[in-house]
């Protein structure tokens, strides 16, 4: 079995006072052992919800995985009891969160916070867990780990805290690590350090990573494959090269065009006009149709099928239908002028 994680037609809804918000609508994803997959999209595209539904960390009362299966090593996580899920969280699949300033408990030493998971999942004694925690801090590049293990989060800088968060996530050698915008809240210089660290750790530990981000620069740095999400669906997926150099979906074109480039200092930055669809009342056709400059009537009326561009590159767009007019991507979307 090559795929360690597989999402098949996953639908997640939130129940709000206004009605049912369909945040994730029919997502198909797979993650191979040891690979790194990025999920890219703007705020509200459903990328965080997708990742939290894998961990089953969505609020139980207000949200629901309506449909689909999430297979981890062949087991459907949506069918597991809370007890069984606890055994998987932190030990098989773990997660890094966006804001290191708030994701650590302020009244507990970082050592204890690292040791908690170890003691629960691996039944280590206090001393063994402590030793392992010190090694973990060393692994994520925190100097003087023997001393710092007894310190509290407020005694660490933002970048150092994110290293601690990563150490917590890696404590039990998980097979899958979900990183939800791990560098968004950090300074640019620190971002690069954290990305280097993650790439380094992935090579050392062989953990598969799902990286959630809206930053295409981060994607290019860290991931072998990319899934572009929009309006709760995946609009394009492929290897990083395919998506960057041969994008097929107009939304991906928009994303790439809105990325600042080295040679575009004097040009105005492109933006995609409009706002994402309201998922309380999702459009019945392509979710991007309302903002797409190439939209046709069929886009508004019908959800596009997924077209295989190559065996790894798949795009859900009517433009790829043989009856559609030929459209060239805008110049700004061509990264480095390739192809």
């Amino acid at each position: 079995m090559k795929n360690i994680l597989e999402l098949n037609n996953v639908n997640v809804s939130f129940h709000t006072f206004a009605g049912e918000v369909k945040a994730v609508r029919g997502v198909n994803l797979h993650l191979e052992k040891g690979e790194s997959l990025a999920i890219v999209g703007e705020s509200g595209s459903g990328k965080s919800v997708t990742s939290k539904s894998i961990m089953r960390l969505l609020p139980e009362k207000t949200s629901e995985i309506k449909e689909g299966e999430i297979l981890f090593e062949g087991r459907d996580l949506t069918k597991l009891s809370n007890r069984e899920m606890e055994k998987i969280r932190g030990s098989e699949i773990s997660m890094i969160f966006q804001d290191p300033m708030t994701s650590l408990n302020p009244t507990m030493t970082v050592g204890k916070q690292i040791m908690e998971g170890l003691r629960k999942h691996q039944n280590l004694s206090k001393n063994e867990a402590k030793e392992r925690a010190i090694n973990l801090l060393k692994l994520v590049g925190i100097p003087n780990p023997e001393l710092r293990i007894n310190e509290y989060p407020h005694q660490f800088s933002g970048g150092m805290r994110q290293r601690v968060v990563i150490a917590i996530a890696l404590a039990c050698n998980p097979k899958v690590l979900i990183a939800d915008e791990p560098t968004t809240a950090l300074d640019v210089t620190i971002q690069a350090q954290i990305l280097d660290l993650m790439r380094d750790l992935q090579q050392k530990t062989g953990t598969a990573i799902i990286l959630i981000t809206h930053d295409l620069g981060v994607v290019a740095n860290l991931s072998q494959r990319v899934a572009v999400m929009y309006g709760g669906t995946i609009v394009e997926t492929g290897t990083t090269d395919e998506v960057f150099y041969n994008p097929k979906h107009p939304y991906t074109w928009g994303l790439l065009s809105s990325m600042p480039k080295l040679n575009s200092a004097d040009k105005e930055l492109m933006a995609i006009p409009g706002t994402p669809p309201n998922l309380l009342n999702p459009p019945k056709g392509c979710p991007f149709a309302a903002r797409c400059p190439y939209a046709m009537q069929v886009c508004v009326d019908n959800m596009p099928d997924v077209t295989d561009v190559t065996s790894t590159h798949k795009t859900a767009c009517w433009l790829l239908d043989e009856r559609a007019p030929q459209v060239e991507p805008p110049e700004a979307a061509l990264v480095g002028g390739a192809r």
């Binding site: 606890e86 908690e116 509290y152 968060v165």
Partner: protein
């Protein structure tokens, strides 16, 4: 740490000095004199009494005399009760007040915390609404209403417990319960808000993502952090009860400090007014110091200078 406490003690003395002086002059502004109420005294007798207690001196002289004696530890004698030393009077009266206050605080805190935690964990369910209802009732209905209701039903109708007086543990239950209602309400409301706030924090998600069980997440990560602000309100709340509460002491005929304090004001019994005020202030200031130290113990972020980190 030692430096912190020492510095705080110095501030406490200054605070105490200001409170004492202020109360002294305020008290002198009160109309009437200690001996006006006793109609049988002739003017001459009143003059002799005033002379004896130094009340004919100019107010500043009286002030310096009083402060001088105070520094020596002499708080004077009561004008009304057979020249008994004020310190003895307070010592005799503080017992019941303190016991009652501590009991009410403990009962109130425990029940309040349970209600608050339950309400937050069962947010927007009937348990939450019930707990909020209890909190609103407890805060808005005065304690003497509960006292009356308890006395009538538990004391008179059911005859389970004595209606009043102070003669052994049985006599503590009703007044302590009546006093604790306000504590229950305040603590429950506060704890609920704090719990909800902490439950929404990112580090709770982190704790869950480690695979910790719900119980561990709530106990180790939520309650501990939610308790920090609750500790701050608990100090003043407790001291208010411990130093005596006029109404409950009066209703249950408890020989406590609160009742004595109020009657000393109506009788212009200057030394008793002064001594009780000073006693209240000292208790209050000490409790606030304890709360501050405790705060540092449970919250490492505000561990005071000199401590580690």
């Amino acid at each position: 740490m030692a430096r912190f406490v020492l510095k705080r003690l110095l501030y406490m003395l200054i605070t105490l000095f200001i409170i004492t002086s202020f109360t002294f002059f305020l008290m002198k502004l009160l109309p009437g004199s200690p001996f006006n109420n006793e109609e049988k005294l002739t003017d001459q007798q009143k003059f002799i009494l005033n002379e004896k207690y130094g009340l004919n001196d100019p107010v500043p002289v009286q002030y310096f005399n009083y402060m001088g004696n105070l520094v020596k530890g002499d708080m004077g004698v009561s004008f009304q009760y057979d020249n008994r030393p004020v310190s003895t009077m307070i010592a005799e009266r503080i017992g019941p007040s303190a016991v009652l206050g501590v009991e009410a605080t403990i009962i109130g805190t425990i029940i309040g915390l349970i209600l608050g935690i339950a309400a937050a964990l069962k947010h927007n369910t009937s348990i939450d609404y019930l707990s909020s209802l209890i909190a609103v009732l407890g805060i808005s209905i005065p304690s003497f209403v509960f006292a009356g209701v308890l006395q009538y039903y538990v004391g008179v109708k059911l005859e389970w417990l004595p209606v009043a007086l102070w003669d052994g543990p049985k006599y503590h239950v009703l007044p302590a319960l009546s006093l604790s209602v306000f504590v229950i309400a305040t603590v429950a409301r506060f704890m609920r808000t704090e719990m909800l706030e902490v439950l929404g924090q990112d580090y709770i998600t982190t704790a869950k993502s480690k695979g910790l069980s719900n119980l561990v997440v709530i106990w180790k990560h939520t309650i501990r952090n939610a308790l920090i602000p609750v500790v701050t309100i608990l100090g003043p709340l407790a001291i208010n009860l411990i130093t005596g509460t006029l109404i409950i002491e009066k209703i249950f005929a408890v020989p406590g400090l609160g009742f004595q304090f109020v009657s000393s004001i109506t009788l212009n019994d200057y030394p008793v007014i002064m001594a009780t005020t000073i006693f209240y202030s000292v208790c209050f200031i000490i409790v606030i110091l304890i709360v501050d130290i405790l705060y540092g113990v449970i919250d490492p972020r505000i561990r005071v200078a000199g401590g580690k980190g």
